[in-house]
Amino acid sequence: MQTSEQVPVTVLTGFLGAGKTTLLNRILTEQHGRKYAVIVNEFGEQGIDNDLVVDADEEVFEMNNGCICCTVRGDLIRILGGLMKRADQLDAIIVETTGLADPAPVAQTFFVDQDVADRTKLDAIVTVADAVHLNSQLGEHHEAEEQIAFADVVLMNKVDLVDEVGLENVKSRIRKINPYAKIIKTTKCAAPLDEILGLNAFSLDRVLEVEPDFLDSDHDHEHDDDVTSISFVSEKPLNMDKFQSWFGDLLQTHGQDILRSKGILNFANKDERYVFQGVHMLMDASPMGPWPKNDNKNSRVVFIGRNLDKMGLKEGFEGCI
C-alpha cells in the first residue's frame, strides 16, 4: 500500500578508460521509452546524453553504528531521496563511480539507510574491465581488484584488441578473484542490455541461482594482498546457534577483509532453506522456502576477500555442524 515499487539501481564501476561512458550512452540511447536517471561523478568523462544527469561528488561517510568499516555514500542518500520525490516514476537509476572508487560504500548505502532501502533496491554491480590493461591494473591498484571482487557482472571490454591467449589470461585472472560474476566479452561495450540491467543480483533469491558454482571448492592462493575466494560445502545440517555465533564474530573481526559473502544453509530441525548475502560487515539473511524435492540439502557458503586463509574459515564452518 505504501509507495510504489522500489526503483532498481545499477552501479557501474571500472577504471578510467575502460568504457563506462560508452556503456552509459548505449543504455541511454537503446532503451527507448524508458526513463533513467544517471548519477555521474564529478571527474567523469563528458558527453552523456540524457536530461536526467545528476552530478555527485562521492562523499563517503563513516557511520557511527559501531561497525568500523561501515562507510556509506552520503551524496547518494541525498540524491536518491530527491529523485524519489519526482512526480514521474523512474524505470531505473544508474550510478557511475570514479575509476578509483571502492564499490563498498555504494553497496553498503543500500543496507544501512532505511529510506534508500524502502524506495530503491540495489540491482547489480556492473564492472567494465579493459581487457588490454586489466592485468597491469590489478597489480597496481587494489581498487581494480575490489571492483572485480564486488561485481555481479564483469564486462570484459575491448576484446578485439587482445589475442585468444591474452583473453584467457584475463578471464582466469577475473575468475580467480571472483568466480561467481558473470563475464561478458564485448567490443565497445556491445552487450545485450538485459544482461546488464534488471538482474536483481542483490535479491536473496539470486543467491540460490549460483548453486552449481558453489561446488567447486577452490583453494588457490597468491600473495596476501590478492583478493581471492573460497567456498565450503557441508552435507550435514548445521547448528543454527553455532553458525550465528561463528558468523557474527567472523564479520565483526574480519569484516574489513571479507568483501562479499553468500550462502545457502540447511539448519538442523528447520524445514526451510536459509540464504544470506553480505558486503563487508553488513549482511542480509532470511528463510527462503522449502528445499526442492531432489535437492541434496547441502549447505554452501562462499567468501570473496583478502587474507581468507588466516580466518580459520574451514575450521569455523565445520565447527557449526
Binding site: 500500500m1 505504501q2 509507495t3 544527469v53 545528476v54 552530478d55 561528488d57 562523499e59 561517510f61 563513516e62 557511520m63 557511527n64 553504528n65 556509506v72 552520503g74 551524496d75 542518500i77 541525498r78 540524491i79 530527491g82 529523485l83 524519489m84 520525490k85 519526482r86 512526480a87 514521474d88 539507510d113 532505511q114 529510506d115
Partner: protein
C-alpha cells in the same frame, strides 16, 4: 482548545476531513510555508500552490523537476530545486530568479525577514542587509541543512562532521564550528537561541548548548529523525522517527539527564512529520500510513485523530499564520485543507 474533535464515533472520516477539502495533486508534497494568510505548498513536479481558506488554490509552475526546499520571505516564498534554480515567487504569482546553479541541485533554503540563504553542493550562499550579491560560505562537505535563529543574525549550516554557525559581526559574518562525528541534516536553533540541534543520518539527534558547546545526544530512535518542531512555552523539541512523538524538555538546564515525554502513539508505525500548534502546548503528528494525530505534550492526555490513513507517509503539516486552517500533505500528492476550529465555517 476547542477543535470540535470529540463525538466522532460512527463516521470513518475525522471531523477535519468532514469539514475540509481533499485534493489529489499527483506529485509528492515536498514542503510548505505560511505567508500572509496563505499556506504555500511545494511539489515534486516543480509546482507551487497557494492555498487560502476561502478560495481554490492557485498554481505557479516554478521549477523543472522536484522542489527540494521552500522558505517564506515577506509576501513571497523562496524555493530551491533540482533544476538548480533559486527562485522568489510573490503571492501574485510573479517569479524572480535569484540565482541559477545549472546542474547542481539547490538542497536547502532558509530565510529570516530580509536575510536569506540557499545551499548547493558544499557551498552556502547568504544574502543579507539588502545586498545584491551573496556571501559564499564554504563547507567541508555537502550542506545538509540551513536555519536562521530568531534574530536573523546567526545562520546554522550543517554538513558532515558538525554544524557551522555564522554570526553577524560589526563588519562581517564570523564562523564557529560545532563538531560531532557523523552526517548532520536538518538543523534548528531553540527559540531562545541557547541551543543548536541537528538531525543526524544515524537514528539520533544531536544538540549543543551554544554558550559552552556542551554536547547533547538524544538517541534511541528506531528510524531516522526527519522532522523537528518547537512546541509550547517550556519549550519542548518534538521529533519524529519513533512510533510516538518524542518531546525533549528545553526549560531550565535542558534535556541533559532528563527523560523525554512521549505522546501520540501511532501503533506499530513511525511518525514522519511533526508540527506545533502555535501558541498551544500541543503538536500534530503525522505517520507513515498518512494518518495524523493531535496531542498535548502530556502523557496523561489522549490524542485525537485528525486525519485517517491515506496509505502514504505524511510529508507536510502546516498551520496558517492566522491559525484558522490546517494543510496536510503526503508523498503521493494527497492534500487535505481544512478549517482548524469547529463552528467557524
Amino acid at each position: 482548545m476547542n477543535l470540535g474533535l470529540k463525538d466522532n464515533q460512527g463516521s470513518s472520516k475525522t471531523k477535519l476531513e468532514e469539514r475540509g477539502t481533499e485534493y489529489n495533486l499527483k506529485a509528492p508534497v515536498t514542503g510548505a510555508v505560511t505567508i500572509n494568510n496563505y499556506i504555500v505548498v511545494s511539489f515534486g513536479d516543480g509546482k507551487v500552490r497557494f492555498f487560502s481558506q476561502d478560495n481554490e488554490p492557485f498554481v505557479v509552475q516554478a521549477h523543472k523537476g522536484v522542489i527540494l526546499s521552500i522558505a517564506g520571505i515577506e509576501d513571497s516564498v523562496l524555493t530551491g530545486g533540482e533544476d538548480g534554480r533559486f527562485l522568489k515567487i510573490s503571492d501574485n504569482g510573479n517569479i524572480n530568479e535569484i540565482a541559477n546553479f545549472g546542474t547542481q541541485w539547490i538542497d536547502a533554503v532558509a530565510s529570516y525577514k530580509m536575510n536569506y540563504a540557499c545551499s548547493s553542493g558544499r557551498k552556502a550562499y547568504l544574502w543579507s542587509d539588502d545586498k545584491e550579491t551573496a556571501l559564499t560560505l564554504d563547507n567541508p562537505s555537502t550542506v545538509g541543512g540551513l536555519s536562521f535563529d530568531e534574530t536573523g543574525n546567526r545562520l546554522a549550516v550543517s554538513s558532515y562532521g558538525g554544524v557551522t554557525v555564522w554570526e553577524k559581526g560589526n563588519r562581517r559574518w564570523k564562523s564557529s564550528r560545532f563538531v560531532w562525528k557523523g552526517s548532520h541534516g536538518k538543523v534548528t536553533f531553540s527559540p531562545d537561541g541557547k541551543y543548536l540541534i541537528s538531525a543526524m543520518q544515524e537514528n539520533e539527534i544531536h544538540g549543543w548548548r551554544i554558550r559552552d558547546k556542551t554536547d547533547l545526544t538524544m538517541s534511541g530512535y528506531p528510524s531516522k529523525v526527519k522532522s523537528l518542531t518547537w512546541v509550547g512555552d517550556t519549550p519542548h523539541l518534538v521529533t519524529s522517527g519513533a512510533n510516538e512523538a518524542i518531546c525533549w524538555p528545553f526549560d531550565g538546564k535542558g534535556p541533559l539527564g532528563r527523560k523525554p515525554i512521549c505522546v501520540a502513539n501511532g501503533g506499530n508505525q513511525n511518525a514522519t512529520f511533526v508540527q506545533a500548534l502555535p501558541d498551544e502546548n500541543a503538536v500534530f503528528v503525522g505517520f507513515y500510513d498518512g494518518s495524523v494525530l493531535l496531542s498535548e505534550i502530556d502523557e496523561t492526555k489522549k490524542s485525537y485523530p485528525i486525519r485517517s490513513q491515506t496509505g502514504y507517509e505524511v510529508s507536510v503539516i502546516s498551520i496558517s499564520s492566522d491559525k484558522k486552517y490546517i494543510l496536510i500533505g503526503d508523498i503521493k500528492g494527497n492534500v487535505l485543507c481544512s478549517p482548524l476550529w469547529a463552528g467557524e465555517l
